[in-house]
């Protein structure tokens, strides 16, 4: 591990990981082992990759908030400690062929993953605008960088301590209209993704969302991270957010049914199969 810094309410860790940095594409995440040897914490924690740099053969940075014991342990790491990472994991964000206008919508630490996407988009001549939000100013991640990169940047906080008082979905329609957006990229809490998707559907423009589900493995073998997604054939399947996601086309994700098995999903109970376990 290389450096550790505080960014407002967040911790940022930079790790030397050439193998991961090399294969990185925007939207990828890493699985981080927590607790050290003899720990009682068995499962890796998933974190979106915020940034990769070429130094030291390749470094990876991720940003996190302290929630439970695993992130608390990570927050105590010091420079030169070693970290055990697996990655890059997940399906990255697809990028448009043409130089279109894209709105990047980030909530809380969700913003962290968007800057690499914006980089790539700008590399393809796309125009990029930012809409970042959180409950309070100290939880809005990357406002400065957004201002530097984006044509426009709109900030929202629920307590009004920064930018507009409210949610990103309150301002998103205005932004999409003003900049004549062709596409939306979003990462943040599921509730926000649902709202952002609704807005994009309203404007009939494509929206790519990076979702978050509880993950035990991150590599597609445990089947714990599923959510209901509509396929090209119109059939709803319980897809793994770690390997078939975390990036999905927003309108394909049945946000209202997350945490359930929709009756019309393939293999739903009663839908022909019996619930044998």
């Amino acid at each position: 591990m290389l450096t550790t810094r505080r960014v407002d309410a967040y911790h940022a860790l930079t790790v030397v990981a050439p193998g991961i940095a090399e294969r990185f594409r925007p939207g990828h995440f890493v699985g981080v082992a927590v607790g050290g040897s003899q720990t009682a914490m068995l499962t890796r924690r998933a974190f979106s990759i915020h940034d990769v740099k070429p130094d030291y053969g390749g470094t990876v940075e991720f940003v996190f908030t302290v929630g439970g014991p695993g992130t608390a342990w990570l927050a105590e790491r010091r420079a030169r400690d070693t970290l055990d990472l697996v990655g890059p994991l997940g399906r990255p964000f697809p990028l448009p062929r043409d130089p279109v206008t894209c709105v990047m919508v980030g909530g809380e630490y969700g913003s962290a993953t968007l800057f690499a996407v914006a980089d790539a988009l700008q590399g393809r001549g796309c125009r990029v605008d930012f809409v970042l939000g959180a409950v309070s100013a100290d939880r809005v991640f990357g406002a400065l960088r957004a201002r530097r990169m984006g044509e426009t940047t709109t900030l929202t906080t629920e307590d009004g301590s920064l930018g507009m008082r409210g949610k990103v979905t309150d301002v998103l329609p205005g932004v999409i209209a003003d900049v004549r957006a062709d596409a939306v990229y979003a990462c943040g809490p599921m509730e926000m993704l649902r709202g952002v998707t609704a807005v994009a559907v309203e404007f009939d423009i494509p929206v790519q969302v990076a979702v978050e589900e509880r993950m035990a493995c991150g590599i597609g073998v445990c089947m714990t991270c599923v959510l209901p997604v509509i396929g090209d054939d119109g059939v709803t399947r319980m897809l793994r957010s770690c390997v078939e996601g975390p990036v999905f086309r927003g309108e394909r994700v049945r946000f209202d049914d997350v945490g359930t098995i929709p009756f019309d999903a393939l293999g739903a109970p009663g839908g022909g199969s019996r619930n044998v376990s």
């Binding site: 697996v86 035990a216 073998v221 089947m223 714990t224 991270c225 959510l227 945490g259 999903a265 044998v276």
Partner: protein, 324 residues
């Protein structure tokens, strides 16, 4: 010094004793990105069911001390898709495959076995008995020796003679040995243990169960003492029956513990979630431990901890060698 790691499930030889645990390696292709599946003893599929299954709602997992709870609910594509896509993918790559099957009735298990019996590439069939018996108020087969034996006998009767049938046991019973004996009497060629004991935890913030299914299967190192005890008891009672030992195996030391208790094959499950290479690492570590202790053959260590207090190891090993 290299150790002969070959082992047998019934009369089927495995190049080494480390296999994946059912439901912990999905269809196999996911792990194949990390290493060549041909290098492990075998891959065990998730439990295949007749119809496609969407499984349980999320949250499906919760972390617990040195373990985790899961309530996946056998999500899978069903036997048709399994035979069309997943099994051929494995057999084309020469991956030894233990096919796990799960059903709600004796008839369903039997129908599954019938579908498998002529399928190429089935190294063995593992019968996941930890499924609710629809015809017995949802009582889990594995908790009742007679019900388990009935399933095993029926599967054995339709399965090709040269494909071993493995009965997978649950620790949530009064006497695991009696269930094991019933399964062997029913025709099981081997036994695997343990499936997940049932546990639960509560989200003290939401003040509700952490899993949407309320209860779930406990796995990981937390249950290893239960698994070792089951393997020990069953091996003591049925020394000639091959045992696939599993439950919280993270390292070669843990696999060696299973072997000493009586397992001739060791399955790795939850450890794969933490380390995709766990099987190869455990295999290497186990071989190193055996070599360091002067074993020439894995077989010489199976059940060795049962030897009477007086007996030395060397002795036992020399005996085996002189019998070559």
């Amino acid at each position: 010094m290299s150790v002969d790691m070959r082992t047998y499930l019934g009369h089927v030889e495995l190049v080494n004793p480390i296999i994946t645990a059912s439901g912990c390696a999905a269809s196999g292709s996911e792990l194949a990105q990390f290493f060549d599946l041909g290098r492990i003893g075998a891959l065990t599929t998730r439990s295949v069911t007749m119809a496609p299954r969407a499984g349980r709602p999320t949250p499906r997992m919760a972390e617990t001390p040195s373990g985790m709870l899961n309530a996946v609910g056998l999500q899978g594509p069903g036997v048709d898709a399994f035979l069309e896509r997943e099994l051929p993918w494995l057999s084309q790559r020469g991956v030894r495959t233990v096919v796990s099957i799960g059903g709600g009735t004796v008839a369903e298990y039997t129908a599954l076995a019938r579908r498998l019996t002529d399928a190429p590439g089935v190294t063995a069939v593992e019968v996941n008995l930890s499924c609710p018996n629809i015809e017995d108020r949802g009582r889990v087969f594995a908790r009742d020796g007679a019900a388990s034996a009935e399933v095993i006998a029926s599967v054995r009767s339709v399965m090709r003679y040269d494909v071993p049938v493995v009965a997978k046991l649950s620790p949530d019973v009064v006497d695991v040995v009696s269930v094991a004996r019933a399964c062997v009497d029913g025709g099981a060629d081997a036994l695997s243990m343990i499936n997940n004991p049932i546990g639960m935890c509560i989200d003290t913030e939401a003040m509700r169960p952490s899993l949407s299914a309320v209860t779930g299967g406990l796995s990981g190192p937390a249950i290893r003492p239960l698994a070792v005890r089951c393997v020990w008891q069953v091996h003591a009672a049925l020394p000639s029956v091959p045992i696939i030992g599993m439950g919280g195996v993270l390292t070669g030391r843990d696999a060696f513990e299973m072997v000493l208790a009586g397992a001739c094959v060791v399955a790795v499950g939850t450890a794969l979630f933490h380390d995709p290479y766990a099987c190869l690492r455990v295999l290497r570590e186990l071989e190193e431990l055996l070599a360091a202790r002067g074993f020439h053959r894995l077989a010489d260590a199976v059940g060795l901890a049962h030897r009477p207090p007086g007996a030395s190891t060397r002795h036992r090993i020399d005996l085996e060698e002189s019998s070559l």
